[in-house]
Amino acid sequence: MAPSVLYHCPCLSTSSVPPPPHLPSSSYSFHPLNTLFFCEECDAVRCNQCVSVEVSSYYCPNCLFEVPSASVRAEKNRCARNCFMCPNCRNTLAAVPADPPESSDGRISGSVNEGPYILYCNHCRWDSVEIGITFEKPTGLAAQLQKFEDSAPDSLEFDRLKEHFDAFLRQSALAASTTAAASAALARDIPGVGKYNPLARSTNNRGYGKDKSVNRDEMTEYRSRSEISQAAGGGELDVELMNGLEEVDEVASLDQRWESSWVSSMQTKDLKPIRIPLHSKRSKRCPACTHILIKPEQKSQSVRYKIKLVASNYLPGIVVVLPHVRQAKEELLKRNLGKSVSAQAEEPSVGMVAGRSYEFQLNLTNPLYDPIEVRLSVQRVHVSTAPAKEGVSPEKAKRPPFAISLPTTKFPISPFAEAWEYEDDEDMFGVEDDELGIGPTSATVKTTKDKDGRARPKTVGVLERKANKTVVGGEIVIGKEAQGSVKFNMLVSYTYRSDDPAPSESGDMDGHNARAPEIKTFSFYTVVDLGPIIPREEVKLDL
């Protein structure tokens, strides 16, 4: 499992502190950065679960035809043209001319054959001859099948239901001749008269209304067209079918049968091709301020957006790397140089062993056009039940005990700019803690040269800076009896100077650009997952 960093979305909850990561339910609130949005009005992160979604347009995933919303309802959310799905393998069907009887070549014969057309699946080789559907022309297949569909039992039943409820609704609409506004006005003026809510009336067939209500009766009872007990399939018929089975494949799988809303025959040879359901393009809004976050373009296959407020344009991206894993991979690469992919040696599973300490590196990328100063801090996990020390008993140690050390001071990250602007920045280093810096070399991991008696490379602190990325190192010490995976919440807060004059300072009309730089701070939580811990017992077994 590669180490990863996921971002927390508070999802409109009042506390912005995320749940501790050892709880399994916490994975609900953490998302990868590329799925998150950012609302500029509320200055908050939004995720796919809390945004409100509206459909912007519909299209067929096969013919890519954009269906206007009016026809969508008429066609029951399916493609009205020639798009069908194979009932066997769910692949799209092609309309091909049927085999001429005397030819023994493949499907597409040489002669121009205007004969009947059939549907053919080019993956599982199912064709519609098996159920006896052929067409006269290769276009307008949906229209040709229309009469079959209309006479299907479920659509007849649906029409009957619609007629029944239509009559009922028309009746209730007549009774609801007063509008909601008028009744609200009445309720204000005359105390004691309840508000007349037309919505509540039509769904409830008991007379719930106060005054102004004509006591509408219950609905007339509905008699369905066919009794359920006599519906196709089920009961004795099924038993006979099973008795006469020769191959398991003759019975349609559940997957193939539950698409339709009506009980259908259980045999695979009775499965009908399905019209392809439409896909939609969605636009998303912030739940709090209803600002539009995502608004796609009208063209169904265009990938551009009119409005695109994604979080990766506002929040710094964080990638976590474990250097010892990477070094193992590099050695592997060097050994594999020149070999093909299939001949490469297998990667050894390198992980973190309990009882040791490892360093990890965080690579932060600044997406803004202004430099930012970032401060990281690890959230302390309060585990009230288990004692928070090493060597805790295994069944309580759902939270593996480990200690994280991160640089605590702020560090800057350069702004995002074009590549050619970065010539000066390449060899910049930050000097942190008490360690003395090294002379300018290429951007590699520095090693301190025993200036203060320590031969260890500097691991905690800012390691390198290049362009708009900064690498920060941290260390983790894993307890001896630790198990599970290493996950910790990290609070990232950054400040940036925004050059835009705030609206309240609009009186500041100088000749030059009104640079009233206000320092804005934003903070968000992330969960850093460094991967599973290899318990020490396993390592001992290898020896």
Binding site: P61, N62, V112, K308, L337, S340, S342, S442, T444, K469
Partner: protein
């Protein structure tokens, strides 16, 4: 250019003698089999790995110069890939159709591609089979080991997997930027070593 990469983004090394670099930045492996190179267009900064087979010789009958396969910029054709233009027999005539691939397309290793059109920012996994006359629109992602039957249409921003390839999910809106950064970063890290 070596040595200026960040330590968290290691270079992807290749042996210098193996790749030919053109003046537009394309890096073509000498061990790739390129048939009919005069009919193949590479957009620039495209990497063709060793063992890839690109059939530019299967061209449509007809006079004049025909482009059989065209690739965009920052593309990557993985090792052992086979790229063959699709063919059809229509009304008695057998013909090959040109294959157009957009920019920022990464094709995984050992994949067989016979699609007619691949859009931009598409990511195709390894060991896939893309059937003939498939249309893959922009920013699609095809998982590893997928078999896409012929004449499939893969809409934009979709994730397909399985055999036959089925729609799995819609990709997030920032996919185009991510794929672009990934392909550009890959090319920048692809260095002789």
């Amino acid at each position: 250019m070596a040595g200026t990469a960040l330590s968290t983004e290691p270079p992807i090394l290749y042996s210098k003698s193996e790749f030919i670099e053109t003046d537009t930045g394309n890096k073509v492996s000498r061990r790739a089999t390129i048939a009919g190179p005069q009919n193949i267009i590479l957009g620039g900064k495209t990497i063709i790995s060793s063992g890839a087979i690109i059939r530019g010789d299967l061209r449509r009958t007809g006079p004049g110069h025909a482009v059989v396969i065209s690739l965009g910029r920052y593309c990557l054709v993985g090792e052992g890939c086979i790229m063959r233009p699709p063919y059809k027999t229509y009304r008695g005539n057998f013909n090959y159709y040109p294959m157009k691939i957009g920019d920022h397309v990464h094709i995984g290793s050992n994949t067989v591609v016979e699609a007619a059109t691949i859009g931009s920012h598409v990511e195709i996994g390894k060991n896939c089979v893309i059937g003939k006359f498939t249309f893959i629109k922009d920013c699609a992602k095809i998982a590893d080991n997928t078999v896409i039957p012929p004449n499939t249409v893969i809409p934009a921003l979709s994730h397909f997997a399985g055999s036959p390839g089925r729609f799995v999910e819609d990709l997030p809106e920032s996919t185009q930027d991510n794929v672009e950064a990934h392909t550009k970063g890959y090319y920048a890290r692809f260095q002789p070593g």
